[in-house]
């Protein structure tokens, strides 16, 4: 069984159809890149999989381990193993990052019927993961993303990904706002999490990111559909010739 199966998905926002019958199958262990110009529906796809309010699914289905994902609330999806790394992670003033991580992790565990982590066990786990991502302890004491640089925000997303151990990671424009050094650190973090039990969907405009996170499959989106799929060579081809060749195909 596929980990994620998107079948003929049609999505509207305010009476405007954004996705016109999109299909995508992702198996465990695979890394898929989704590329495409602005407005092609890449972020919409990631939001709908995660369950963001404001989108109306008018047709098609999304199965996650064979279960109907669209019937689940966003927090249920999270507990089932769906993780979305945000393009623009939000700031939550007054809530220490450590508190947030612990509350979220325990909420997920509780939803799965697992026991909550004790404070010492949790601290040990967070410290180990943070150290591997070069995240200083004082960042964990600050409010969630408050005053974080672009790179720190993205690292905080990857920290959560490592901590929650999701089976599906969707990375929405992870490269936006990052300089080359910050990008390398973030990509190293992501690569460390590649595993036969986990799939990743990497959404990006640019081929650049895919030099660091090398995908197994590349899909080109245009005007709400996948118009071409291939291996990593497809990304290089796009880099050379641009997206315009696909505009007609859509």
């Amino acid at each position: 069984m596929a980990l994620l199966e998107v079948k003929d998905l049609q999505v509207r926002v305010d009476d405007r159809e954004i996705l016109h019958g999109l299909s995508l199958t992702v198996n465990k262990g695979e890394v898929h890149a989704i590329m495409g110009p602005n407005g092609s529906g890449k972020s919409t796809l990631s939001h709908v999989i995660a369950g963001k309010p404001g989108y109306e699914v008018t047709g098609g289905e999304i199965l996650f381990n064979g279960e109907d994902l669209l019937e689940m609330s966003p927090d249920e999806r999270s507990a089932k193993g769906v993780f979305l790394a945000f393009q623009y992670p939000v700031e939550i003033p007054g809530v220490a990052t450590m508190t947030f991580l612990r509350t979220a992790l325990n909420a997920q565990r509780k939803a799965r019927g697992e026991s909550e982590f004790s404070t010492p066990d949790f601290l040990k786990k967070v410290r180990a993961v943070a150290a591997s991502l070069n995240i200083p302890q004082d960042m964990l004491r600050r409010g969630v993303n408050v005053g974080f640089s672009g790179g720190e925000k993205k690292r905080n997303e990857i920290l959560q990904m490592a901590l929650f151990e999701p089976s599906l990671c969707i990375l929405d424009e992870m490269d936006s706002g990052l300089d080359i050094d910050a990008l390398r650190i973030a990509a190293d973090g992501v690569n460390a999490l590649r595993s036969p039990d986990r799939a990743m969907v990497v959404i990006t405009h640019y081929q650049r990111l895919l030099n660091y996170i090398v995908p197994d499959f590349v899909h080109v989106m245009s005007r709400g559909r996948v118009v071409k799929s291939g291996d990593k060579e497809l990304a290089l081809e796009l880099e050379a010739s641009g997206y315009t060749q696909f505009e007609d195909a859509a």
């Binding site: 369950g51 309010p53 966003p74 945000f86 939550i92 809530v95 947030f100 979220a104």
Partner: protein, 496 residues
């Protein structure tokens, strides 16, 4: 459906009646005849075995009250109160109590349900805290007020050794008349305002605290107020005096049963600090807020004022206001002594049909006086939440300083937050700063939290607790934990 839309829908459906303290205790009580007259005042005074001067004081207040009109300037709406349709005195039927064992077991049970430790033994025997994260066990002396009378005051002996007087004010009037006479009504005079004057006429009990010079009160003092009887007003009166160089931290909590009719609560609290003294006064107010249609709930019309009478003295108010149908309350500081300091930290949450009009007054009279106001208002449902504050510097209050920050957070689009600051500086050396923000709880923030596994309600609770963190930090540890939980409970049902 968008989260905010869900919020709004959910709020329409909510039963604010998740109120956990809404049970009634069945006990026999001793009531004054319904209605208010000189006879009612005499009845209460006689019940308390008060000296003649106290009765005179009450009657004078009553006669003045007859000439006064209810204030109308607050942003609250409620039907006219029929003051003749209320009971002004209700006491659990029982004789003078010699020890806790003589307290009606039903009342003890009530406090047990509320989680208020009245049994000293349990604490003395060192009941271990379960959460393991709190500070080492701290003992708190509790005075419990049930309807109109104080039913139990704990740790009397230990306090006595330190020279601290902590007792029901009715007892203090008999046992320490000189102290009471010297201070009662000197901060909130009997003529102060409609509700304070009413209180002066009919108050039945409350707490009295006197901390002698140079004494740091060895434990937190706490009063727990409970309105139980139907159609009864609760009019408690609290008087706290910190003599020169003394320090005391005082906590107050309040609950009431769920009732369809509105109940009146008109309390007066007076604080006095002499030279170098400090009083820290914390409130967690959780009176019954009424049901989802806005029926029932407590009218909370309270006058709280502190007088920094001595030089270098300090008064700090911290309040977490989550209950009551209507809250009308402005804990204030008169900064009379030179270099004195006033603080006001407030969290006011309104949900359902609640109406809050609350804030503070910082009245700078002495030289180099400073004050700080941090107010966090959170409005959900169809509630209205107003911050109303006055900061004023007298002509002679040179070097006065104030910093005010008022932040409001809106949940949904049917509620309102309002900020009404009054600022007056009568001398050119005063420096007043005022900051205010109003924000809506953002859908992006909520979605981020639920994507990470939190339920909508947990997400709102987390965001709100972050929003009020600066104020929560001002509360004593035990209260902070309780308040944090209370905040989440008060907002239950505010999101979809």
């Amino acid at each position: 459906m968008a989260a905010v839309q869900e919020t709004v829908d959910r709020v329409r459906r909510i039963d604010v009646d998740q109120y956990r303290y809404g049970f009634e205790t069945v006990i026999e009580s001793d009531k004054a005849p319904k209605g208010l007259s000189e006879d009612t005042v005499r009845f209460i005074s006689a019940k308390k075995n008060e000296p003649a001067w106290m009765l005179e004081w009450r009657l004078e207040a009553y006669r003045r009250w007859l000439t006064m009109a209810e204030p109308k300037w607050a942003r609250v709406n409620y039907p006219k109160i029929d003051y003749q349709d209320l009971y002004y005195y209700s006491a659990p039927k029982r004789k003078e109590l010699a020890s806790l064992d003589e307290v009606d077991p039903e009342i003890l049970k009530t406090y047990e349900k509320l989680g208020i430790p009245l049994r000293e033994v349990e604490i003395l025997e060192g009941v271990v805290r379960k959460d393991g994260e709190g500070a080492p066990e701290r003992r708190i002396a509790v005075d419990a007020v049930f309807d109109s009378v104080s039913v139990a005051t704990t740790f009397q002996k230990e306090l006595k050794q330190a020279g601290v007087i902590f007792m029901p004010i009715s007892e203090a009037i008999r046992e320490h008349p000189d102290l009471v006479k010297k201070y009662l009504g000197t901060v909130v005079p009997t003529s102060d305002n409609f509700f304070a004057t009413l209180n002066s006429a009919v108050f039945s009990d409350g707490s009295f605290v006197y901390v002698p010079p140079g004494v740091r009160c060895p434990m937190e003092l706490s009063t727990y107020f409970r309105i139980n009887e139907r159609n009864t007003g609760q009019f408690e009166r609290t008087l706290i005096i910190a003599d020169k160089g003394a320090y005391v931290s005082y906590l107050e909590g309040c609950t009431a049963p769920q009732r369809d009719e509105n109940q009146l609560h008109a309390a007066v609290v007076e604080l006095v600090t002499l030279d170098d003294a400090e009083i820290k006064y914390s409130t967690v107010q959780n009176w019954y807020p009424g049901n989802s249609e806005g029926k029932g709930g407590i009218y909370n019309f309270v006058t709280k004022r502190g007088d920094c009478r001595g030089n270098n003295s300090k008064i700090s108010w911290t309040q977490v206001e989550t209950g009551s149908a209507i809250t009308w309350k402005y804990p204030s500081c008169i900064l009379r002594g030179d270099n004195s300091r006033g603080e006001f930290y407030s969290i006011a949450i309104s949900n359902g049909h609640q109406q809050v009009d609350s804030g503070t007054k910082m009245i700078h009279l002495g030289k180099n006086t400073t004050s700080r106001i941090i107010s966090k208002g959170i409005a959900a449902g169809v509630s209205q939440n107003t911050y109303r504050g006055l900061v004023t510097a007298h002509r002679k209050a040179t070097g006065a300083r104030n910093f005010t920050a008022c932040d409001s957070l809106l949940i949904g689009d049917k509620c309102g937050a309002h900020t009404v600051p009054y600022i007056e500086a009568k001398n050119s050396s005063a420096l007043f700063e005022h900051e205010a923000t109003t924000s809506k709880i953002s859908e992006d923030v909520l979605f981020y939290c639920v994507q990470r596994g939190l339920s909508q309600e947990e997400a709102v609770g987390l965001v709100v607790n972050g929003f009020v963190k600066d104020v929560l930090q001002q509360l004593p540890m035990e209260f902070a934990v309780e308040a944090q939980k209370l905040i989440s409970i008060s907002l239950e049902g505010s999101v979809g």
